[in-house]
């Protein structure tokens, strides 16, 4: 591995993602408008229900997480979708790049955008709706953020695999996966209120554990023991599986001619 060369390849995808975001008016909507709508509607609901500070934080941290993960996974998911839309996929894979370059490059921009969204949403939630982020301390908050970004990376990598297999049709998956995951992991409610069979599904989602971990600082009981162990273990396993899946779909795309078909 030649470091400067690899750095330039990673930078290629990061710079492209950043440029597209800067030029795309919808990126502003993605980053600010929709998250703001989400936070305001949920925040106003908590005010209407006259909830205590802990419950408000419980709910609002769910809304902040949803928006952060949505944005953070988009850059990764779009890393190949941009090429599919531009019909330039074959030129990207004609170059000596590896999946790691794509994942790290586009993922870095997703991370930055996700951090920005988190900061903005957390600021509004604290300012307008009295959300309290101080209780877990900096360490707890950082662990929670890492957990969220790992989840975003899993979704992004999964969508990359789907893009390589199904092309533009996978676009909808970029949104659908995260919404489905967020529904199951107890975003606005404890997982104990889910029907038992959905509760079983919630246990295979790493975000469930990170939300549990964060919320226990506010006095909410843990439904699962060792949430961080489970959360990180599942995240690492899923990341490895998704990486292998992207690798396999790329190999399959070279066999099936998908790269050429998606470039026509």
């Amino acid at each position: 591995m030649k470091l400067p060369t690899d750095f330039n390849k990673i930078l290629a995808f990061a710079a492209r993602s950043a440029l597209v975001n800067r030029r795309n008016v919808f990126a502003v909507f993605e980053m600010l408008f929709w998250p703001a709508i989400g936070i305001f509607s949920v925040g106003l609901l908590t005010r209407f229900l006259n909830l205590d500070a802990e419950t408000v934080t419980f709910i609002l941290i769910g809304a902040v997480s949803m928006n952060t993960i949505q944005i953070a996974q988009l850059d990764l998911s779009y890393a190949l979708l941009y090429s599919v839309w531009a019909k330039s996929l074959k030129h990207e894979f004609m170059a000596p790049v590896r999946l790691t370059h794509i994942l790290v490059g586009a993922g870095a921009v997703g991370l930055i955008r996700g951090m920005l969204v988190f900061a903005v949403m957390a600021f509004f939630s604290m300012w307008l709706f009295n959300m309290d982020l101080s209780r877990p301390g900096l360490g707890g908050l950082l662990i929670f953020l890492i957990g969220m970004f790992l989840n975003a990376a899993v979704i992004g990598a999964l969508v990359l695999a789907l893009v390589l297999r199904f092309g533009q049709r996978a676009e909808v998956a970029a949104w659908a996966f995260s919404y489905l995951m967020l529904l199951l992991c107890g975003l606005y409610y404890p997982v104990s209120v889910l029907p038992p069979w959905i509760g079983e599904l919630a246990q295979i989602i790493p975000l469930t554990y990170f939300l549990e971990y964060f919320r226990h600082f506010y006095g909410f009981p843990l439904n699962y023991p060792h949430p961080l162990l489970y959360g990180f273990s599942l995240s690492v396993v899923y990341l490895c599986v998704c990486y292998a899946l992207v690798h396999y779909t790329l190999k399959s795309a070279l066999q099936r001619g998908t790269l050429l078909r998606l470039s026509e």
């Binding site: 400067p4 330039n8 930078l11 440029l19 531009a86 030129h91 000596p96 099936r256």
Partner: protein
């Protein structure tokens, strides 16, 4: 002679749908291309040209056979090979919202370039393809000709040793296509770059390629230089001699190099193996007859005839 490409027994088929038989696109294709050559692969649409070039360019894996490009296996050594080759295709497609300069920088970085080296390469290509005035124009706002120039510039970003050009002038106006052909010739002449191009434009192949191969329905039907193919297929140049008062008596079939002859009113049509060589002795023989020559027309055999002969 060094060989840039050695393809042996390349076959490729694609699935056409559930419960449908696979469509065989390439059948056992063998090909060798010398280093420093411009080699043309000709064939009608659907002949398998793009599939073949894509296999050599590491974008597609063959079902059978082996392709060695620049001494590397196109499947096993794909990563290494990609450092040394590049591709430009018809209907240039790049990210719409990036400028000419940003697109070149993006691809430059994909090949590991950075810093001063990247900036210098981008500047060089902007000059070479006269893209400097358009450097800050986004791809979606470029004309077709400029897009194609950008495609060629991108294909040279890593200073490749072998360039694949997949129908590079398709969709361009004649003037722009002419410019691009001149550029291709210049690159080959000045840098010794090996170029493998696919085209169904016979004139283009004739102008650019030292050697050509014909693909039809996935089969390689023939390959060689124009002279080779002409000789192999028994094709000749056309020589028409017009006389003042009828065609004089002469055993035209016995004239040097004459393959076929036909007399019509005041004209005799001869098909000769090499007109350049045979013209003088034929005219000398005709001048010894009482017939008065008023006009001589010469048309060299072209790829259209070779193509027609091979594909029908």
């Amino acid at each position: 002679m060094q060989t840039a490409i050695i393809a042996q027994g390349i076959s490729k088929s694609f699935k056409t749908g559930f419960f449908q038989p696979r469509k065989q696109v390439l059948h056992d294709v063998d090909l060798e291309v010398a280093s420093g050559a411009i080699f043309g692969i000709l064939g009608p649409n659907g002949a398998g040209k793009t599939t073949f070039i894509s296999i050599l360019a590491t974008l597609l894996r063959p079902d059978a056979g082996q392709a060695r490009v620049l001494g590397l296996d196109a499947v096993k050594d794909a990563g290494l090979l990609r450092e040394r080759v590049n591709l430009a295709a018809s209907g240039a497609h790049f990210l719409w919202c990036l400028t000419v300069e940003e697109n070149l920088k993006f691809y430059g970085r994909l090949y590991g370039l950075g810093g001063k080296a990247l900036r210098a390469k981008v500047e060089e290509l902007l000059d070479l393809f006269e893209l400097r005035p358009h450097r800050r124009v986004t791809f979606e706002r470029l004309s077709t000709g400029l897009k194609q120039r950008l495609a060629l510039a991108k294909a040279l970003i890593n200073t490749p040793e072998l360039l694949f050009l997949d129908e590079p002038t398709t969709g361009l106006d004649p003037e722009m296509a002419g410019h691009l052909r001149e550029e291709i010739l210049r690159l080959n002449r000045e840098t010794g770059l090996t170029i493998l191009l696919t085209t169904h434009n016979l004139r283009e192949a004739e102008l650019l390629c030292g050697e050509v191969a014909f693909l039809k329905e996935g089969h390689l039907l023939a390959r060689g230089t124009m002279a080779d193919l002409q000789e192999r297929l028994g094709l000749g140049d056309h020589l028409s001699i017009f006389f003042q008062d009828g065609v004089p008596a002469l055993d035209y079939a016995r004239l040097p190099g004459v393959l076929v002859h036909k007399i019509e009113n005041n004209r005799v049509d001869l098909k000769v193996d090499r007109a350049e060589e045979r013209l003088a002795p034929i005219l000398a023989a005709v001048s010894r007859t009482p017939g008065q020559v008023v006009q001589v027309q010469l048309k060299e055999v072209d790829l259209t005839e070779i193509y027609h002969e091979i594909t029908h």
